[in-house]
């Protein structure tokens, strides 16, 4: 019940295309859903996050869509660029308490010119 499922495992997108990564969770106690971007040899860095009281959040080229009833959320990267090539992790946590982050399995995105 603590798992966060993520797909696809890897993704190749043409420059300028849209990258879409999907995640699903089971634990309804989760109430904060961050996405992390990780470059090789680096730690995860927060990219964008959403709480379930909104259905969509947009920051620049990055958009999270959230479907509370389906317990699913997704990351859309518009106008994908080679510099976006990284591993993306969806995650979930409870905003109260000490909020350990439960990570998805990761998606390795490659944006080709």
């Amino acid at each position: 019940q603590q798992q966060v499922k993520q797909s696809p495992q890897s993704l190749i997108v043409q420059k300028g295309g849209i990258s879409i990564i999907n995640c699903a969770y089971e634990n309804t106690a989760f109430d904060y859903f961050p996405w992390y971007q990780q470059f090789p040899g680096k730690g995860p860095a927060l990219l964008i996050a959403i709480r379930p009281d909104v259905s969509e959040k947009k920051e620049g080229r990055f958009t999270i869509s959230f479907n509370k009833s389906a317990k699913q959320f997704s990351l859309h990267i518009m106008d994908s660029q080679p510099g976006d090539s990284a591993t993306y992790f969806c995650a979930a946590t409870k905003s109260g308490g000490y909020q350990k982050v439960t990570f998805g399995t990761g998606t390795k995105l490659q944006v080709i010119p």
């Binding site: 992390y36 680096k42 730690g43 995860p44 927060l46 992790f89 909020q99 982050v101 990761g106």
Partner: protein, 113 residues
């Protein structure tokens, strides 16, 4: 911009040896975490630490592991007797308040031979 730092960046040790991984969290943060990432896999929570005590730990964090905040700035993870399967990237993270973003350090790559 404040950041979490970790030392060493790479640690090689023999099976059965003790290792200490060091982290300097962001200075005004109160909540501290260790995560690990086995090569090619997702990031997994190990332990959270607040007010000089463990607040939560995962099933991975067995008696071989311990954490300490020996002074006002460092946060350490000790593995008493390393096993081959302890080989992973270990990330330290910190946050200022529950519900706030966790900032991750660059990680220490531990290789157990």
């Amino acid at each position: 911009e404040p950041e979490v730092t970790q030392t060493p960046s790479h640690q090689v040790t023999q099976m059965g040896q003790e290792v200490i991984l060091r982290c300097v969290p962001i200075s005004n943060h109160l909540y501290f975490y260790w995560y690990r990432q086995i090569l090619g896999q997702k990031v997994e929570f190990l332990v959270s630490f607040y007010n000089n005590e463990i607040s939560e730990k995962s099933e991975i964090f067995d008696d071989q592991f311990s954490v300490e905040r020996p002074d006002g700035s460092n946060f350490t993870l000790k593995i008493r007797s390393t096993k081959l399967e302890d080989s992973a990237m270990y990330f330290c993270a910190s946050s200022g308040q529950p519900g706030n973003e966790q900032f991750f350090g660059p990680g220490t790559r531990l290789t157990v031979l």
